[in-house]
Amino acid sequence: MDREVSAKLEVLFKTKLNSAMRMYLETCARCGVCVKACHVYNSMPETKYTAVGRAEVVRKLFRAYFKLEGKIAPWLGETVKLDDVTVDELYDAAFSCTGCRRCVTYCPFGIDTQMIMAIAKALVIGADKAPAVLSILSDMSIAKGESIAETAVAYEEAIRNLESDVKALWAEPWKPGAPFIPIGVKGADVLYVALSGAHSIVSAAAIMNAAKENWSLSYFEAVNFGAFLGDAAKAQAIAKRITDEAVRLGVKEVAIVECGTAFRFMKYMTGRHPFKVSAFVELIDRYVRGGQIKLDDGKIDGTVTYHDPCQIARNGGVFEEPRNVIAHLTKNYVELKPSREDNWCCGGGGGLISMGELDFRMKSSRVKADQLRSSGAKVVTTACENCHSQLVDLNEHYGLGMRVEFLSHIVAKALMA
């Protein structure tokens, strides 16, 4: 790495030093309490997979470039320089971290390793070593936002083709004469932001139609590859496509598909909006509590458990809603141990699913497989696309013999008149 690049990275590092980050980098006592927090470390016990081990890669740079200690006694904090070796270490630290923030529940200070990893990701991007697949997917999302007119017609046509599937789940549109999948509706109460796959649209459409919700489908997919990549500008650009659409249509609420990162980013990281942001599972819960939909509680065979997606539960505050919905679907529910804010991450977040990384994802999530197996459940439900994909892979890899279901899918199948 030449001096020009390392100087550029130093400037980039400095831009990330907000007040919280400064405290996170200054305060760690290296007490080691967080060591046992990470699912990766618990599955593959290497120091570099501990929360503190990941953060120390960034801290060693912080000491070197921004602390007096690094200038006069670099050996005290084992400082490192911004070079190719360090960038590789930053890559390993950042892209083996799913950003689940389970370590925050262990740390006596509440140090946020995910936020520290944002520096690692920014430096990796600055050194032009970011995962190509996440960069390409981010750029594609942004390009779609810039040229929506060119793709809108084809998208609407594809959506029309899904209507029969929606009708098979619930025979009525939300109001007589309305399309089964309304799209681009001005004045809709709810803008539902799906993913590119039909599976993220059909069940949700049936549920909202059954609830007689005045809703509209977004032209954009919710997933934020910019957030996975750690590129703040791209992440905001991707989110802005949706917020602009929501403002243009004048909706009261934006409901995010079962995708943890998309929900958390839109709700907590894009500033104040003239609309409410909800996870789709919150809508389902509202419909159930309000009597807008009724569910058949005898449709699921076997014990059911629920995997709390990290970005929706621990990092998003949605705990009770899915449990209330499941209580209307089955009498045979069992909690995972640990659960709720202590739940093990599935091991697929932080862009790992999009990057492939099957071998690493399976090895690093052995504790998750053990947790699922010991629950004794036959069905594991969740409310996140990444979690679902990862749980399907774990189920197959570890021979768990479970069924993995999106919560919205089992709700749609259990809808009663």
Partner: protein, 280 residues
């Protein structure tokens, strides 16, 4: 009040005369000094008087600079809140900072030592303030300082545990040289403190130096008399006092650059994870 304290100190000093005589050494004021002794006494004076002011001044300036630079940095674009939210977020943050429930849950033995250490450290600060003639938590005529040695043991024993833990398993692998040096600095600081607060009563004649003796030294410091503490702290134990003060000075100087800044940052950093998010 001050006159009382000085009188009490001189009474106590009289009581300790024979002990001090027993403990007489080359450092005693009554023995002619060699050239080395003169240099040593100048160094010891520097350590126990001017350096104390310099160290505390440096600590205050550097700590204030660091805290101001942290809080004047831009706020993060989002709140790193952890859910579920607590009913009383500020109380939860204070509980996190002062009771460390996360450590209690995940490392209970470590937590016991941490709690003993931190409570004892607070008492240690009070015990040092109590040496000032104007503050009398413990009777000024008492030979003992606050806790009669137990406070010192309260910080020293956990320090042994922290060191053993630091050298063990994964904690060793995440440690930097600064972590070890800080622990050893504190260990020797505390051991010397134990020697001059508790161990100095282990002579055949009881106390060599008492709380009243130390109060004369502290009184000189707070009144900026620049008097040589050798005059009020007789006996060979004075060298231990000098070493103790030297390590305390070093601790003050390195504190703003060390992880001990968590003393000031623990509460605000915990507020970050407990504070409910509001969009801006």
């Amino acid at each position: 009040m001050q006159a009382d304290a000085v009188a009490a100190a001189s009474n106590a000093a009289e009581a300790g005369v024979s002990a001090a005589a027993d403990a007489v050494s080359a450092a005693s004021a009554d023995v002619p000094l060699t050239a080395f002794g003169i240099v040593l006494s100048k160094i010891e004076y520097f350590v126990t008087v001017p350096m104390v002011y310099l160290a505390i001044l440096f600590f205050a300036a550097a700590a204030v600079y660091k805290i101001v630079s942290i809080f004047s940095a831009p706020a993060p674009g989002y709140a790193p809140t952890l859910y579920p939210l607590k009913k009383r977020p500020m109380m939860a943050a204070m509980s996190d900072a002062f009771a460390m429930p996360q450590v209690r849950k995940h490392a209970p033995v470590f937590w016991v030592f941490l709690m003993v250490y931190h409570v004892a450290f607070i008492l240690l600060i009070l015990g040092h303030l109590d040496i000032l003639p104007s503050i009398n938590i413990v009777d000024p005529e008492s030979k003992h300082m606050l806790g009669a040695g137990a406070v010192g043991v309260g910080v020293t024993l956990p320090m042994f545990y922290f060191i053993i833990r630091r050298f063990s398993g994964e904690v060793r692998r995440i440690s930097t040289p600064a972590d070890y040096l800080l622990l050893f600095l504190l260990l020797f600081l505390f051991l010397l403190g134990d020697m001059i607060s508790w161990g100095n009563s282990w002579t055949a004649h009881g106390f060599v130096m008492t709380k009243a003796d130390f109060s004369l030294y502290f009184d000189g410091l707070v009144r900026f008399t620049f008097d040589d503490p050798r005059k009020v702290l007789p006996g060979s134990h004075f060298h231990f006092v000098v070493l103790h003060v030297l390590l305390a000075n070093v601790f003050f100087i390195v504190l703003p650059f060390s992880k001990v800044m968590h003393v000031f940052l623990s509460l605000p950093i915990n507020i970050l994870r407990r504070k409910p998010w509001t969009a801006k």
